[in-house]
Amino acid sequence: MIVRIRRIARPAAAVLAAALLALGVVRSERTFTNPMDGDAIPVGYWTVRDLRLAVEAHAGDPAEPARVVLVETGQNASLDPRYEYAWQLVIRGLAPYTTARDAADPADGAATEWYLAHAGDLFTVWDDVFKSGLYAQGAKALLVGTLVVDGATTGERVMYPLNVISPDYDTGDTEIDYTVRPLYPEEYTAEISSLNTFGLEPRTIPFDGRLRLVDVTLLVEPLDVRTLPG
């Protein structure tokens, strides 16, 4: 009898330990709420080539278009007439990176984002993008911000569909300068309107008018990263 008990004691103890371990693991996984859930993980990508590789790796399927929306954020922006039906858009207080947001509609609502660091050299990044020829005729974009009238913020969020061309960067580390024009109604396609997740009505820049905005976001139409240089 004792021999039999000794014979089964070790396997029985092993089975019991494994069962208790499995129980503990299941309970632990069920009860844990990760405090980091929902927090963006800071990541840095540095060149448009890196961006292309990252997006392609993320997309997985080479047949699927790997498209990103480029997003610039800044503290404030001004729109001033430059010449006929063209304005100068200057965004100031730029974040030191451009966000590239996966254009694919994610099931969980949280789009993957990559960051193109420009660290004071945004023009180089944009220059690389423009070398692709994608935006030769300008890029469709949405300018979103809070309207400022007579130097005071109105608190009203507004959105202007624009065509942005010729990004320039020569006025400081945290500024970028574009030539822009309003989008024609037929250019405000479903694809570009889909970037308007804020539910704002599209507005038209007043002819010969000036605009001042704060808390600004510029969302540029999706581009296929496979066409990027590098």
Binding site: G24, F32, P35, I41, P42, Y115
Partner: protein, 478 residues
């Protein structure tokens, strides 16, 4: 088969430790990460140089002194969790800043270059990949040893069971050059030792290849951290000579070659230590009080750290419960007493010298620091040597009384369990929070993967399984 399961379980235990702390948690983690980021020279947006000052610039999130709110934001206060990582913004990955370390110059060792392969845009994920790679390196080294020299593998395995947790296992899985020193030096030494023994007996090219393999692993360990591993590599080379120079049937040329190796190694070691004069100078500089203080505080603390962890883990702010040291001492004592058989006087003398060196080095201020982690690898080499010699041929485990084995496994397993819990606790909520449930009120954890409690449970079980399979006797056939 049993060996593979031991390796798999050891790997799982190491991975649990790899998961137990955030990026940059190793001592001077900021410095070592910056070194890895710069291991491939100047690369745009990874490691650049300030054109005006010449300083190296790396992503701000890697840095401790260019904070606040980088990946090292939790260092310096054991009561604070790593929850501050939630507050860091994207600029920590995209903004380049000087390291804040005086005269930082990258040291592109093989270790750093291999780690550099895993550098990506996400610092945390990069660090995790590097830790997994380091665990893989350790498993490959141990696997090769188990395959080519099972007796030596068994002796090292026993030494790692009793000295592995918490210091060794933490560093093996850390992005820190000591990872490779810990993983590769003992395994390389034992491969060279076994290979040399067989080569002397057979003169077979195969065993010469094993010696070369062991030598290569020792070189990689040296290259990873040359500032102090020169000494440990030197000791390992001397041990090779001591163990084989007296073997029978050695021809004159081999004896001369071994003697030459021993003399050159000894001369180099003495030169670096400063010779007997250097030792005397150290003593006279410190005076009686200073020497007594170093002997009773620093050297004793370093020896205690070997089994108790203490501030050897993390950036000097990880609190280990006392029970870890107590259990570690029990495991060590029972294993040594249980494994002990007849040992030659020469072996006792050599072992005594190794122990004396391990106690002396933290005493000596210089390239070797005063924490136990600096001499851990020497302690493992000394203990493995003891296990190899005390039963004349690496059958230390087989010679242990059956009653001693469960004690060793239980004490070492529990020491690892308590240590891993305390380590996860330090980063999840801060060490000032009590309680067994690591999931409760967590302020930090990796964004993906298993929960803290799961990591602890699996890591503890895996260590106990590896130790049990290695130390407990197989069932007797009935």
């Amino acid at each position: 088969m049993r060996g593979l399961v031991v390796l798999a379980a050891a790997g799982a235990a190491c991975l649990a430790w790899a998961w137990s702390s955030p990026a940059a948690s190793a001592p001077d983690g900021d410095y070592h990460l910056a070194n890895v980021w710069c291991a491939d020279g100047v690369r745009a947006n990874l490691c650049e140089r300030d054109p005006s000052t010449g300083e190296y610039l790396v992503p701000r999130g890697l840095l401790r002194y260019a904070g606040p709110l980088g990946h090292v934001c939790y260092v310096g206060n054991a009561g604070a969790s790593a929850g501050c990582l939630r507050e860091i913004d994207a600029t920590v990955a995209t903004q380049l800043a000087p390291t804040g370390r005086m005269e930082f110059t990258p040291e592109p060792s093989a270790f750093a270059r291999v780690q550099h392969v895993f550098v990506g845009p996400d610092i945390e994920h990069s660090a995790r990949r590097m830790r997994v790679a380091n665990v893989a390196v350790a498993l490959v080294a141990l696997g090769l040893l188990g395959l080519l020299a099972p007796a030596a593998g068994s002796a090292l395995g026993l030494a790692l069971v009793v000295l592995g947790a918490p210091v060794g296992i933490f560093f093996v899985a850390a992005v820190h050059p000591q990872s490779w020193v810990y993983s590769l030096l003992p395994a390389g030494w034992l491969l060279a030792d076994a290979g040399l023994g067989r080569w002397l007996a057979t003169r077979s090219a195969r065993w010469a290849g094993v010696v070369a393999l062991g030598g290569a692993l020792m070189w990689l360990a040296y290259d990873a951290r040359p500032q102090d591993s020169w000494l440990f590599v030197g000791v390992a080379v001397l041990l090779l000579v001591v163990r084989h120079a007296t073997a029978a049937r050695l021809d004159r040329r081999v004896r001369v070659a071994l003697a030459a190796v021993a003399l050159v190694t000894l001369a180099e070691l003495l030169r670096r230590i400063g010779g007997p004069r250097g030792v005397v100078d150290q003593l006279s500089l410190q005076g009686v009080d200073g020497a007594w203080n170093r002997l009773t505080v620093d050297a004793a603390g370093a020896v205690r750290d070997l089994v108790a962890g203490g501030n050897a883990l993390g950036s000097s702010d990880v609190v280990m419960p006392t029970i870890v040291g107590v259990l570690g001492a029990v495991a060590l004592g029972v294993a040594m007493a249980g494994a002990h058989g007849r040992m030659a006087r020469r072996a006792w003398a050599t072992f005594g010298l190794l122990v004396g060196l391990a106690a002396y080095l933290p005493w000596r201020v210089g390239d070797i620091g005063v924490s136990g982690r600096y001499v851990w690898v020497l302690a493992v080499i000394a203990l493995t040597y003891y296990f190899l010699e005390c039963r004349a041929g690496g059958v230390a485990i087989a010679g242990m009384p059956r009653a001693a084995r469960p004690v060793v496994v239980a004490a070492a397993g529990l020491a690892n369990t308590f240590a891993l819990h305390a380590h996860i606790r330090r980063y999840v909520t801060g060490s000032d929070v009590a309680g067994w449930n690591l999931n409760r009120d967590a302020e930090w954890w990796w964004p993906s993967g298993l929960a803290p409690m799961t990591t602890w449970l699996l890591g503890s079980a895996a260590f106990a399984l590896a130790a049990g399979l290695l130390v407990l006797p197989e069932r007797r056939p009935t």
